[in-house]
Symmetry: C2
Subunit: 583 residues, 2 copies
Amino acid sequence: MWIVRANMSDLSCKLKEVPEQYRTLGGRGLTSTIIYDEVDPQCHPLGPNNKLVFAPGMLTGTSAPTSARVSVGCKSPLTGGIKESNAGSAWAPNIAKMGIKALIIEGKADGYWTLHLSCADGKPVAKFVAADEYTGRCLFDVYPEVFKAFGEKVDVAGIGTSGEFGYPDSGIVFQDMKKRPTRYAGRGGVGAVMGSKGLKFIVLDAAGAPGVDIADEELFKTGAKKMRDALMQHDVTKPKGGLNTYGTCVLINVMNEAGGLPTRSFRSGRFEGAAKIAGEAIFETNKARMGKEIYNHNCSPGCIIRCSNTVYAKDGSEIASCVEYESDWSLGANCGIDDLDKIAKMVHLCNAYGLDTIEAGVTIGVAMDSGLLEFGDADGAIGLLEEMGKGTPLGRLLGMGAADVAKAFGNPRSPTVKGQAMPAYEPRAVKGIAVTYATTTMGADHTAGYTIAPEMLGVGGTSDPLKVEMAKADLSLAFQKTTALIDSSGHCLFIAFAILDIASGFDGFIEEINGVLGTSMTGDEAVELGADILRRERAFNEKAGFTNADDRLPEFMAIEPLPPHNVVSELSDELLDSVYGQL
Amino acid sequence: MWIVRANMSDLSCKLKEVPEQYRTLGGRGLTSTIIYDEVDPQCHPLGPNNKLVFAPGMLTGTSAPTSARVSVGCKSPLTGGIKESNAGSAWAPNIAKMGIKALIIEGKADGYWTLHLSCADGKPVAKFVAADEYTGRCLFDVYPEVFKAFGEKVDVAGIGTSGEFGYPDSGIVFQDMKKRPTRYAGRGGVGAVMGSKGLKFIVLDAAGAPGVDIADEELFKTGAKKMRDALMQHDVTKPKGGLNTYGTCVLINVMNEAGGLPTRSFRSGRFEGAAKIAGEAIFETNKARMGKEIYNHNCSPGCIIRCSNTVYAKDGSEIASCVEYESDWSLGANCGIDDLDKIAKMVHLCNAYGLDTIEAGVTIGVAMDSGLLEFGDADGAIGLLEEMGKGTPLGRLLGMGAADVAKAFGNPRSPTVKGQAMPAYEPRAVKGIAVTYATTTMGADHTAGYTIAPEMLGVGGTSDPLKVEMAKADLSLAFQKTTALIDSSGHCLFIAFAILDIASGFDGFIEEINGVLGTSMTGDEAVELGADILRRERAFNEKAGFTNADDRLPEFMAIEPLPPHNVVSELSDELLDSVYGQL
């Protein structure tokens, strides 16, 4: 297995055998460790001293179900701290099968380049091809050209114009199952880091790839079967279950009912138009328009859950695939917009330009809250996304993200932590997720410690969402540690539903890991591996200048009661500081 | 003497006798202490929990020469840390004479208001008058209306549109000797804080004011005479001396010669057009256009130095008064512009809209460096200032200041520290001022520890500007401490030239203070008072989340050699951390 190091300054590429200390790491564990080991925490995120690391998970490229994820790590231009963002795509198992444990991008090129990686004699081979012709353009136009140039069997990762422009709101895109540019490692401006290096695409040709080494096939297969069974059995993840039927947008009605669906830039926890944009509405609208029930599809090979929807237009054409809960909310409820077709169009535009849908939607919400546009003005919002894609001065401003747009308009209502926009769970109404938003190393991020499971879904036990108690700190930390492990494994975070509720699922998860790596970790030891990753990320952030003062929710949430429960954020500094204090 | 507390939330005002612990403080010492005592360092700068404090210096309102300064303090929306910015104006001695030791603005009003302060029975009396009619307009149009409304003998402080818009680049203006809105507490976004509270103007009617108490008239007069004699004697400050003849722009040629005049957004230390925009050129151009030698005038009553120039147009009309060195540089050399009339026009526009000229010029320089405009495009730069004044989306972006514009354009060349734009001394070419920029509590600020005196001007000894040595840390700290004292005294910082070189001038300074306050401090003890102020400011910043990582120059200055000396910033973390480490 290899560490591939591409130096954009002289367009060279080096292979090195994976050193022993990285052997048992993967995904987020590996990207965060390499960033911690090699990047000066005080460097400029878009300067030559930042690095961009791609690492498939420990299990990625194996037959473990729902494990086709790749992590991207760097110092974030959005938060100024460490960043890991991951995506599911066929790109992920293929880089793993090529024997590449991590791909590290260094330096800074003139112009834009495609890094082409193929295999010869079981080893990765790199070449650089000029990519200037693809810049400044819509990714849906460019992607087919890249496949044409490099062959239909390749896998493509890249950036849109937002990454070229250096926006803190820019992701890295990976192909979906139909080779479209729609699967994003979206958060934290990873696209801008890739753009700053002069790297437009990474093309993989996995023909002849040796595949992933598995130390103990028997153990691995036992574990994978338990995982598969658990996923097939749990109501949320099974075929024609919650996610397969309604997609992640199944949460719209749930969160709205709970009064925790942030509406009109976090002015309410309930949106009167929720039912019109909910997962149920998408399913029923598709059924009416297409004349049949359409269940969701997979974002990547080997997924059982298959939660990706497609929103079809009246004429049967696709508007966007997929519209996730977060995007549906950020560009919908959060902007007071209840027109599903227009929300889907906005998702398409974000994909076309390489924007993170969460950051983009929250940014537009803040712009509306600041008076630039009326809430509910879907066409106006579409216009703002076009500005962002073109890089006009207004687009540049919006591309900075929600925190900076609030700053530009002198608006103290900035729903962000560490400069990153909050996702679709109102922290005033869900106290555990508030702790996660405030304390995670990533900036406001629901995926970093998804306490929503017990607080809203009755998964992994139950916890009263409105109750302020020190136990919320423990709950969040437990989720943050386990998440760091899942993000390292290559599994989609959605396996959490099954492994939280089904003991054999969790056992299987640990057996998969031990089987691949040849280790003999207990469950607790594996979770401790997650804790180690958090410690490293936290240490990076501290050296970058973060303190406990950065682990806070915005002040306006402590002042302004949120309807319908009329709650403010009441988390004490003591509670918040206890999360990493006890790590 | 009174602490006046205006609550904008209910438009009420309260008087309180000055508490003992504030009695011997003034100016920056008092604003920073009140902010430290009363403001949550983690509050939002534009939220209801920030406060805005005005405090005249200890000596302001007395006959001490060149002492008519007022400090403004708050948590800064530009840096996120504590901020003190001061200005010279007739407003300053009059608030002091009214017995107001500090005016504290709290809360948040609906709409915009004028706070009118007058005297009855020797006590301040406050009323609030609606000011919405003055908003959204050019200050040069509005100021005469305010004087008309409140009487020609009042003094007026206020904000321009930039403060209404909440720009981090917005100052608070005070009248000059011709009642024009041109004397600014410019830095750090203090205007936005005033705007966020709904306060547009503060009008003083000092008729019947009791005047400033002086504990020991004899001692005070002895000190003031020594100070006066020193100022009259020193080449820099005496009548028809350097500042009175050429103004602060006398530094253009000096810094250019030394290779330390930041040119084209800090790409060089030398500007080929320097001679055309230097103080000497202003003097000669005025002479040619007006047919006589014109020496400079005073910004405020009782000033001996009289360093404020006027730039006259060919037809004899005024383009701007005054064009300071910092403005001349930021909007001139820093933007590659050598047209003095257009630079003066830009200064006029900054005054009209309430913008800090340093932040505005560095911001335009960064925009040019990022490709928005060509270097040298004076008309384009004027257009950008108009956008800022009008609050267009582009103007909003530019109003955020240089650091954020660099971020919006993905440009790692951001010449800022703690988010505040660097002034007119290239830190790579002048190592002592680099230490001050990096470490002062204020963000990049030459006035916080003006080591330029020994490094460039041979004042207060000499220090090789290009030599990297630990002694630069001591030099900067010594200047920072003394500056905190001068900023508290109400004296203009330019007395430093005379008190550094003339021992009796320094003695006089201390005697003035002891005379007014009835204290018996030695010089060392007085400087220790300055050190105390720094400690308080630093402690506030630490609670706000600042660490040593914030005491750094931008990375690009460590990478990119600066012509003509081809030097990079070579200040070690150890050197920088020793400054406040030893405090």
